[in-house]
Symmetry: C2
């Protein structure tokens, strides 16, 4: 099988059957040896990180399948840290789609004049460009359309899918008395040009709190599935 892309936390291979294989690494993003899901550099390697991320991803992608929400997931082999997916092309050079239930992080840094820390937000969706050099700038519907990244119709589908998916994740966490504050998703177009969820859903994609305390991304798998 052919290596298509070596990512920060995953490698992507092309399989002979036309599908792709994602190989989850134990490398996690961070700076100065401290794990930070939002960082753009690989900071350290933690044994079991790849397996924990894949277990959560499999769990959530199977829940989404039950709800008929389209994703790239085919199947997973936890021991091998591998996930088989259908091929998809990203929008432009890649977008991140964020859904917010509480005002924290970059939302608060931007809109702190009008929002209090931790204030409830109603599944607020925003899109950022994947662009390390320009600190992943936020971008709206009109600019996405004008720059040829997404049509206005696709933006609307993306926004609704994001809300639906985020509510599924929020509900699952709620069953274990955990609360989802925000979550970051990635989407692409499959061979039929349908918009589908891609990448992974694990601790590194979201901020979760339990009893008012922040849940460390690497603890999430144990707390949810353990």
């Amino acid at each position: 099988m052919k290596l298509l892309y070596a990512g920060k936390t995953k490698n992507v291979y092309e399989l002979e059957d036309g599908n792709y294989l994602l190989k989850f690494k134990d490398d996690v993003t961070g700076e100065d040896g401290v794990f930070d899901p939002g960082a753009n550099t690989v900071g350290l390697s933690i044994e079991g990180a790849g397996k924990a991320g894949l277990k959560l991803t499999q769990f959530f992608f199977e829940k989404l399948k039950e709800q008929n929400i389209p994703t790239h997931f085919v199947d997973a082999d936890i021991e091998k840290q591998e996930m088989k997916v259908v091929p998809a092309t990203v929008f432009g050079q890649g977008l991140e789609v964020i859904c917010r239930f509480r005002a924290v992080g970059s939302f608060l840094r931007r809109y702190g004049k009008y929002a209090e820390e931790g204030q409830r937000l109603d599944a607020f969706v925003e899109v950022t460009l994947k662009d390390d050099e320009r600190q992943d700038p936020p971008i709206g519907r009109d600019a996405l359309h004008m720059l040829g990244i997404l049509t206005k119709e696709e933006y609307s589908i993306l926004k609704n899918l994001t809300k639906d998916i985020s509510h599924v994740v929020k509900d699952e966490l709620g069953k274990k008395e955990m609360e989802l504050y925000d979550i970051k998703l990635e989407f692409g177009r499959n061979a039929d040009n349908q918009i589908i969820l891609i990448d992974e859903i694990s601790g590194g994609n979201m901020r979760v709190y339990k009893d008012g305390e922040y849940v460390q991304p690497l603890d999430l798998e144990r707390l949810l599935l353990g």
Copy 2:
């Protein structure tokens, strides 16, 4: 008459007839003694700056009146550097609305991965919060609505008014072989809750080019009206 607000480049007074009076100063924004319309501090004072700004503002507001575009303008006294306006309340703690015809400035700093410098943009409208501390962050329709700053209907009115006004300014500049690259406007609600253009329209609000050269804001009045 009562001083309501002492601004960086204008003072605002309340008149006995219920209108407001804007007194244009010769102070201009900038840093380290260099004029910069985008700066948040007053950098220097230039004789004639207030008068030039008011002349342009009167010229454009009268053009807008001919087009039945609602503004706060009543009349102006150039010698006294005064403009009489109807009272208006701003949205939240103030917004700036930008209309872009060319990709320059902060647009390019954010979206340079997808746009080339100087590329034509189709009257692209974006909104920023007036918030010096947070570097005037951009904000979209959904966030403006969620944070109670503007309804979705008001956003739509604001966007259309911004395009109409910017085209009027662009056309006037075009008559003197100048090209409008981008312009920054402010809006408010009048006593009838109608959305109207407020503040001023002068060199400090826009980027203008002539024969491929940037036109200094303080040269604009002479080039357009002289």
